[in-house]
């Protein structure tokens, strides 16, 4: 099984990944474009973030690794450098494998070519094995606290301390220099149909021959000790190329064995290089927030579904504004009894920023990252969904609906798929129809969510909703001067 420093082997409570649309609505893509300029790294990071987990153990597992890297930044650099070279080796090995496949498939392989491929595969396996030792020796130098890095170290150490590790290296060295060998020795076996079912390379020590021609020529005046005579038979040359084809087969089988072991090593340790990208971007994120002199806190996870976040900053504003002081933090509280939160306010008063800051916080916290706030006690959700008021979708086949119908369609899909324990972000939903009708429709929908223990946050102009809900049924906030939410 592949070793992962991101995922626990058995993730509990598997959660549906969040869509790119949610990242777009919450501007996570734009926020991280300020943090990490490398598009590929950023895309990978966001793909990990999207792969939502609500397994607290997995989140804590990542948090511990981030903290290890925070404390030992050179370790991250060295691991990245090592895994980059490990990845290059994987590509080299794959290329050798492709060459072999091509030669076998086209029937153009000769024993000389097969021998070259065998040498290449033996060398790749040897190097892959040595990389595992290098990983282990690097990790050994640091005082690690995270389970993730400690288990990576133990796995490497366990391998290179096994006696068969050294034996395998010896085999690799032998075939790395195979061209120097004088002998090519094989064992064969015939099946019940009299066809060759096995033809494998053997070590020369198994061959015992008494050459009758040499015995005849031998002459001595002294009586010799009794000689052992080994039964053997000279092979007549074969014009049909059978021995050449069989040799290619046996060499290719052996190089296939080396390749297979290499592939398993790459499979087991190959994820690390990629996963380090997540931690690399995570450290950049923490450094960016620290550079903005914003408090960064790892959240505490509550069991009672209550949420209490003090002075939460919106990540996108922090990253896009030159001056941190112009970004106003807000508190976010949601009691365990409240199904949802209604936020009303005028245009440009900070409703959407507030919604975005909560969504961003939730996603990053569930990815194992710290968040820009003074303190955070949050709960974990099984699914996240957003419905942001948008312009009508461009004309495309199958989309004959107007803006209101588009929204209804999206919400219907949500109702069909969302499960208990989800969190829904709704931004100016149902404002593209008569307000009274929109509010009426929305009220029944929000009640439906609450009935299913799906929690929701709605920012809206539909003030009619305020009167529809009973006291304490929902939390109602309003925007105030200076972008404060009260």
């Amino acid at each position: 099984m592949a070793i992962s420093i991101l995922y626990l082997n058995e993730r509990k409570n598997y959660v549906k990944p969040i869509s790119d649309r949610i990242l777009y609505h919450l501007s996570l893509d734009r926020s991280f474009s300020h943090i990490c300029a490398d598009i590929k790294k950023r895309e990978y990071f966001l793909s990990v973030v999207s792969d939502l987990t609500n397994d607290q153990n997995e989140i804590l597992y990542r948090q511990a690794i981030i903290k290890d890297f925070e404390n030992n930044p050179t370790l991250l650099e060295q691991l990245i450098s090592l895994s980059t070279r490990f990845e290059e080796l994987r590509i080299t090995q794959k290329t050798a494998g492709r060459d072999e496949y091509r030669l076998n498939a086209t029937g153009t392989a000769s024993s000389a070519t097969a021998k070259n491929i065998l040498q290449a595969q033996a060398l790749c396996l040897k190097r892959a094995l040595l990389f595992i030792k290098a990983y282990g020796e690097l990790l050994e130098k640091y005082e690690l606290k995270s389970d993730g890095l400690k288990s990576l170290y133990s796995s490497c150490k366990e391998m290179y301390e096994c006696p068969d590790y050294a034996k395998l290296i010896t085999f690799c060295s032998k075939y790395e220099n195979f061209s120097a060998s004088r002998y090519w020795d094989f064992k064969f076996a015939l099946n019940d149909e009299g066809r060759i079912e096995a033809y494998e390379l053997i070590d020369h020590r198994y061959i015992h021959v008494t050459d009758p021609e040499l015995k005849k020529k031998g002459f001595s005046l002294f009586k010799k000790a009794e000689e052992v005579t080994y039964p053997c038979q000279r092979l007549a040359p074969a014009k049909d190329g059978l021995y050449e084809r069989l040799a290619v087969f046996a060499l290719s089988d052996l190089s296939g064995a080396f390749a297979k072991i290499s592939e398993q090593i790459f499979e087991k340790y190959g994820l690390i290089g990629r996963e380090l990208i997540f931690y690399d971007v995570s450290l950049k994120y923490i450094q960016a927030l620290s550079g903005k002199e914003v408090p960064v806190r790892y959240p505490i996870f509550t069991e009672d579904q209550s949420i209490k976040v003090r002075n939460l900053y919106d990540l996108y504003l922090l990253m896009s504004k030159p001056n941190t002081s112009s970004v106003i933090p807000n508190d976010f509280m949601l009691g365990k009894a409240n199904g949802g939160l209604l936020v009303f306010g005028n245009n440009g008063s900070g409703k959407t920023v507030y919604l975005r800051s909560i969504g961003t916080m939730q996603i990053l916290a569930q990815a194992g990252l710290p968040i820009p706030c003074e303190s955070a006690e949050i709960t974990l959700f099984s699914q996240l969904a957003t419905q942001f008021s948008e312009a009508e979708k461009e004309f495309c086949e199958g989309n004959d609906a107007g803006r209101f119908e588009q929204e209804v369609r999206e919400l219907a899909a949500m109702v069909d798929t969302l499960k208990e324990g989800s969190l829904v972000f709704l931004n100016e939903t149902f404002q593209s129809t008569a307000y009274a009708e929109g509010a009426e429709g929305l009220y029944h929908l929000l009640k439906h969510f609450s009935a299913f223990n799906i929690r929701w946050i709605l920012v809206s102009h539909l003030r009619q909703l305020e009167e529809m809900f009973e006291n304490n049924e929902v939390t109602i906030l309003h925007t105030a001067e200076g972008y404060k939410i009260v």
Binding site: G194, H204, Q233, R234, L242, V408, V415, T433
Partner: protein
Amino acid sequence: MINAPRLLNGNSTPSLPDTLFSDLQIDKILSPQAIAVLQHLCEPSEIMRRNELFLLLDNSNNVAHVENTLSVLCATERALYLLKDAKIPLDIYYRQAELFESYLASCEALASMYNIGELFADVANHYSSEESQKLRSEMEKSAHKIRSLLREMSAGLLSFADKNWLTPDYDAVSEIDSISECAKNLGFAAPAKKPQNTKINLSLSDAVCHLYSDKVAQIEAEIAKYTDVDFYEPTSYISEIKFFLEIYSLLQRATHIGVPHCIAKLSQTPQYIAKELYDVSLLAKNCESIVPNDADFTENEPFCFLLGANGGGKTTYLRALGVNLILFLAGCPVFAKEADIYPFDIVLSHFPRDERFDNTGRLDEERKRTEEMLNTAQNKVAFLFFNETFSGTDDKRGFDLLIDATKKIEADCHFGLYVTHFHEVMSLDYPVLSAEVDSSDANKRTFRIVRSKGSASSYAADILKKYRLDKDSLAARRCGHGN
């Protein structure tokens, strides 16, 4: 040595023409080999023996038994082919061992068929004879001995350097096995070896035979004991068994879409009576359902015309009659609920041909063929099928020719069905059938062959309701989830 009895008697006469099978589309559902069997009409006693076998094939255990025997016989046929093809000494020894083993298995399989009808019982008795058992007992010992000797010669080591050698293999461990062991101990899956199946060459065969010359001499001595045995004999049943299994397979295909089959009663008087007769040639078109029709041809009304709309199933009805009649005459079950059929002497058909008529016109060609057909049927109890014969001319002339042919048919007391679009046949003194829409079937355009006698709220609320997001629909969703 007594000749082995046959499962199919190929000497019966007369033979049905090839065109009958293509006219009735039987060549679309059965192989040429099966059609070759169907071309030979059976004596009533043979029909009964085959019927008995098909009845026994209703039991899946019996089918499995027959299929197993067939596969064993095919293995013998393959072994014979491979032995004939073998040129290298070591290869010949292996092929000979394989032939002995498969021949023994074939004889055993045939001897075990005693409880699958009279046809197989005769064969089983032949292979259970004392003489046969004695031969098998000796051959079994020889086969074991040859196998054992070959196994002792089946492994070795080859060394390629200045000189190339073959030596026996005592305990050599291959490099791939040693590496796999290391991999396993390190927690990796052992690399799979690629399957190898390569024919040996003369060089290796000679080296092995020289290295083990004493064993080779023993093998040759064993083989020499059986030069007089006819190893081909059991394989002659392959095509015969295949016929029965192919018909069985056709029965299964039909059953799969709900078409029944039965063993027709063997009538003593000329007649063709059947309830719910199906045209199984439609299986070639992968039809999911086939409409059945009845057949009622007796000595009082042996011949009739069939009229009807295009696409009304006239030709299908004709084929249903023809295909099932041919199956019956070859001792096979028929696709009907029940049937009572006389073993007619011959079955003939006249369908329009697509050939180019370079020397004669179409009408002349049809007239010539009709004459030939009626001549062939003369003095026999025949069943004749005509499909739009003489339609290639004007109505008057075609109808006149039809009347001529009909008179001859009546005079010779033949049975038959004549599909035509000449409505004037209504005026003749023959029964007329017609394809008519089945009124009992409201949904499908099916035809039956019958005796002829002579087709608001506000915008938002609506949308919410459409997507089941209105108050009532949401409440219903919650109820559906147990809330």
